[in-house]
């Protein structure tokens, strides 16, 4: 794998282009969490008892934070990368410079993770404004680190999909059949305890489940041994997804 510091150049290119969309994406990133937190958190939460001694909103926030990271980084590396690759032919001019195909793809993965961090970070601000706060300052920082970690994972997974996608339509399979179900089966909106055993084991195969578990532990400061397992699963998956995603994209870019 021919990776170098030039990943950073590609990231900066994306930052330049982002200047034009920053207001609209910030608005979207702020409105989306409000929608989740108000409808589910306050609206639905009003009909629910306490979750482990706290309101439903407190239960909801840590999961929603990582799932918004998932959504942003996934979409960035599906649609964003596809446009750059097929419509704008940006990769073609990139790989004719000392920037390698691996640098270019990794730069886009880093960018996808950054977009995830922005979405998650804004959502955390909204949650904090609504009085749902992580337990301590270090836990705020840890949550931000977790967001980047989760962002790289889902950006890499999306790259794999993008590398084999003939058109935009193909992305629907991934988002509708994998990403959306993941949102509902990963314990973001309700605990998984009451699920039948097979559903629980299914959830164990979903990366988001592990991310939500970690997020909840970091948010509340109540760590338990299981999150080591959660972290290991994500870590291994992330390494695998990154190297497969970069390699498959390279195969598509270089003919």
């Amino acid at each position: 794998m021919n990776l170098s510091y030039r990943v950073y150049h590609v990231f900066i290119r994306n930052l330049y282009s982002y200047k034009r969309f920053v207001v609209s994406t910030f608005l979207v990133s702020l409105i989306e969490p409000l929608f989740y937190l108000i409808t589910f958190g306050i609206g639905m939460g009003a009909y629910m008892g306490l979750f482990g001694g706290q309101s439903y909103l407190h239960f909801l926030v840590p999961g929603v934070l990582v799932s918004s990271v998932m959504m942003s980084s996934t979409f960035e590396c599906l649609y964003g990368t596809f446009v750059k690759m097929v419509h704008e032919r940006l990769y073609d001019s990139l790989i004719a410079t000392p920037v390698s195909a691996e640098d270019a793809v990794a730069g886009d993965i880093a960018w996808g993770a950054f977009r995830g961090l922005i979405s998650g970070g804004l959502m955390m601000l909204v949650a904090m404004a609504m009085g749902v706060l992580p337990v301590s300052i270090p836990s705020v920082l840890l949550i931000l680190v977790l967001m980047v970690f989760v962002g790289v994972l889902f950006a890499s997974l999306a790259m794999i999909v993008t590398s084999v996608s003939p058109s935009f339509d193909f992305f629907n399979y991934y988002t509708e059949l994998i990403i959306t179900p993941m949102l509902f089966f990963s314990g973001v909106f309700f605990p998984l305890d009451k699920f039948p055993a097979w559903m629980k084991s299914l959830a164990a195969f979903m990366p988001l489940t592990h991310a939500v578990n970690i997020s909840r532990a970091v948010f509340s400061g109540q760590y338990h041994a299981r999150i080591i397992w959660n972290f290991l699963v994500l870590f291994v998956l992330e390494i695998a997804a990154f190297s497969v995603g970069v390699r498959m994209m390279k195969k598509r870019l270089i003919k």
């Binding site: 030039r6 150049h9 704008e88 073609d92 390698s100 195909a101 270089i254």
Partner: protein, 305 residues
């Protein structure tokens, strides 16, 4: 001195399709070398292997002594590419396109700024600095591609059909700029379908067809060897061919019937013209032989899809 670029048995396959079929050539530094050929002849594939964006299937290809390879950053570092397609960054302005590209080549900001100014001036785009790419005309976009390709002060410039789709003014401006670069010592690799472009710019050319090199040489020598100096064109019914060839053949080096006209290729058109006057044929004219005649003779006149 060994060649700046050397290819031996260079081959490129895409699955079963052989795009470049075992070609060999040497290009000394400072030369303008042209690849001519119809669509699908393998010109673009060949130059893409040279500037290291497409892997070599077999054979060898070296640039400045280094093997051309997809991960050879050293070759990419000294190469400027003017691509066939407009691959400017549409999300950025003219200036930003240059700034970002300079970054890709690790050019420090302090050096990049004056160089960008100078290059935008060179292609007459200073006034468009803050324009977005979609506000530019095709000619301006092509000029910006030229400026962008020069950011790293390349020793090797690869121009893949650099004037496709341009009006004559813009085309001449690009030609002038390319000639200037060559005068400054850069090696220039050009692919083109425009014979005039090749004649204007190239020291040496190869004519490619179906992945192979058919001829190599100086444009003028190729014309004289293959065609002669002049071409006599006669619009006449096919039935007359036999008689005309009998009458005019001795004065020509060769003849060819292509649909409507009958061509005679000759070293000197005078004798044939005198004969034509005798025969009193309408619809005849004589013109200098061009590279286009060579090209069509060698690559055939059928449409190549």
């Amino acid at each position: 001195m060994s060649a700046f670029i050397a290819a031996r048995g260079l081959t490129k396959k895409y699955g079963d399709l052989v795009a470049v079929d075992g070609i060999s050539f040497d290009i000394p530094e400072g030369e303008c070398f042209g690849f001519l050929g119809p669509n699908g002849a393998g010109k673009t594939t060949t130059v893409r292997m040279m500037h290291c964006v497409s892997p070599v299937t077999s054979g060898t290809l070296t640039v400045d002594g280094m093997p051309a390879h997809i991960d050879n950053r050293a070759i990419k570092m000294m190469t400027g590419v003017i691509p066939q397609e407009i691959t400017l960054d549409p999300d950025l302005t003219v200036q930003e396109n240059m700034v970002i590209f300079a970054r890709f080549f690790d050019i420090p900001k302090r050096e990049a700024r004056p160089r960008i100014d100078e290059l935008l001036k060179f292609v007459e785009l200073e006034a468009k600095r803050t324009s977005k790419i979609d506000q530019l005309s095709t000619g301006m976009k092509r000029r910006l591609l030229v400026a962008r390709a020069l950011l790293n002060r390349p020793r090797l410039i690869v121009a893949d059909e650099p004037t496709t789709g341009l009006d004559p003014q813009a085309r001449h401006l690009i030609w002038q700029r390319l000639r200037q670069l060559k005068a400054q010592g850069a090696t220039l690799i050009l692919t083109t379908q425009y014979m005039e472009e090749a004649q204007q710019l190239c020291d040496r050319i190869v004519i490619m067809h179906q992945g192979r090199i058919l001829r190599e040489g100086l444009p003028q020598t190729l014309i004289e060897d293959e065609i002669g100096r002049e071409v006599v064109e006669i619009r006449i019914a096919k039935e007359e061919d036999e008689r005309l060839v009998r009458e005019l053949g001795p004065f020509a080096r060769g003849h060819e019937r292509v649909g409507d006209p009958l061509f005679f290729y000759c070293r000197d058109g005078h004798d044939i013209m005198r004969k034509l006057v005798e025969l009193d044929l309408p619809n005849t004219w004589t013109r200098p032989a061009t590279l286009e005649d060579v090209f069509l003779k060698l690559t055939g006149r059928g449409l190549i899809e």
